[in-house]
Symmetry: C2
Amino acid sequence: MAVIPIDDPLDARVAVFRDIRERDLTGRQGLFVAEGEVVLRVLASPASRCRPVAALIAEKRIAALADVVEALPPETPVYAASQPVLDSIAGFHLHRGILAVGEKPAPPPLAGLLAGMGDDHVVVVVACGIGNHDNMGGIFRAAAAFGAAAVLLDGRCCDPFYRKAIRVSVGAVLRTPMSRGLGARELIEGLSGAGFRVLAMTPSSLSPLHLSPRGGRTAIVLGAEGPGLPPDLLQRCETLGIPMSGGFDSLNVATAGAIALHHFTREA
Amino acid sequence: MAVIPIDDPLDARVAVFRDIRERDLTGRQGLFVAEGEVVLRVLASPASRCRPVAALIAEKRIAALADVVEALPPETPVYAASQPVLDSIAGFHLHRGILAVGEKPAPPPLAGLLAGMGDDHVVVVVACGIGNHDNMGGIFRAAAAFGAAAVLLDGRCCDPFYRKAIRVSVGAVLRTPMSRGLGARELIEGLSGAGFRVLAMTPSSLSPLHLSPRGGRTAIVLGAEGPGLPPDLLQRCETLGIPMSGGFDSLNVATAGAIALHHFTREA
């Protein structure tokens, strides 16, 4: 695959990479921008669930990334530019020197997604109202590290394909099966109907996580930091808590999720 | 305690709050700047190990924070300014509207710190070469959540009193006993000599964390993301790993630390 040199920041072929920060704020229909080598490697790998649309790389980094460039589909253009041209296109100093645009996969219907999963030691994460992109990225990173079968996001969650969330997830957002846009109640009912134990993590629970049996189909429900899960949702779930030291604020939501994943994905 | 109004951004009494970002970069001798209500509440609480030096609060927030202002020592001045004056002092838009300056506590000698701890179910965290302030804050947050007796930082770690690390820790940096500046080898030898099992978390370990016995004195050693712990340090420790799903990057170091803390701080 030939790399296409770009000398003019206004070149129409790289318009999709222009003024990234502003586009982050306004949101994108169908496309996302990712940055950095780790994420580009995931996007180019067979594990990715997203179609790579284009890549834009600092020319000084092209040689070291030859294998990644080669791994991209032949129809994906790879552009190379000097660092000043790259910075001018992006609208800020892009010290990582690597940008890629990909296509968000269409979220599959929940029933079909769940039907394709196994029956034992299957764990999914349900995220409700997660508004912080660091937490979103952290939830996906942990889900991938522990082999969760999917991450299900309710309609109040922020966009997991936001550049920072992808980066914090070290690319897990691009490879993890997910559902987006359903209400939390629909998700919980769909999971219960498909034979999942639906377990809400909440500091107020008197049932400690580490005593909860594992195996079968398990859904770990995480709520927003601060308010947590609304009472009407908690009533539809078993609740579990992580015992903590008195007098201190609760754990970060992504950390609590990782601790629960560690518990439920173990074989014994 | 009377609140002191500030109308002039150049008022010498608030010089310590000036151009915070630039000062973040150059570092501070002995003092730190913290921001936000959660952190101010910790600084004003009996749990804080840091002397509050001064606070600067948006005047529209003063009424709601009357109890915190009251909890500060009478010799700590509390300044109030309009949002534009506040922004002008800080050098950027301070949407949280709350700044405080405190004094870093002198780190106690390691032997004395360890001697004051109990003998059973005592857990400390050792952080080696942690260079990222988010991770540093996350390690302190988890240490406080699980009641770790101390966090011991080797000389290659970044400053835990950097503003962002304090914020991510939700104030735990201000209340957690810590040691700073010793070499990792000195820390490990000091801990071994004081009867601690020294357990290094590393993805390469064949011993899974969840099978490791708890109780007694335990030190959890965490290395930098990416390179991890150097081989000469690993040889001086037992190693433990967190089994993960094949083909994915390891966990975030703060998350791995939290999972280990959850394991070792449980009673059963």
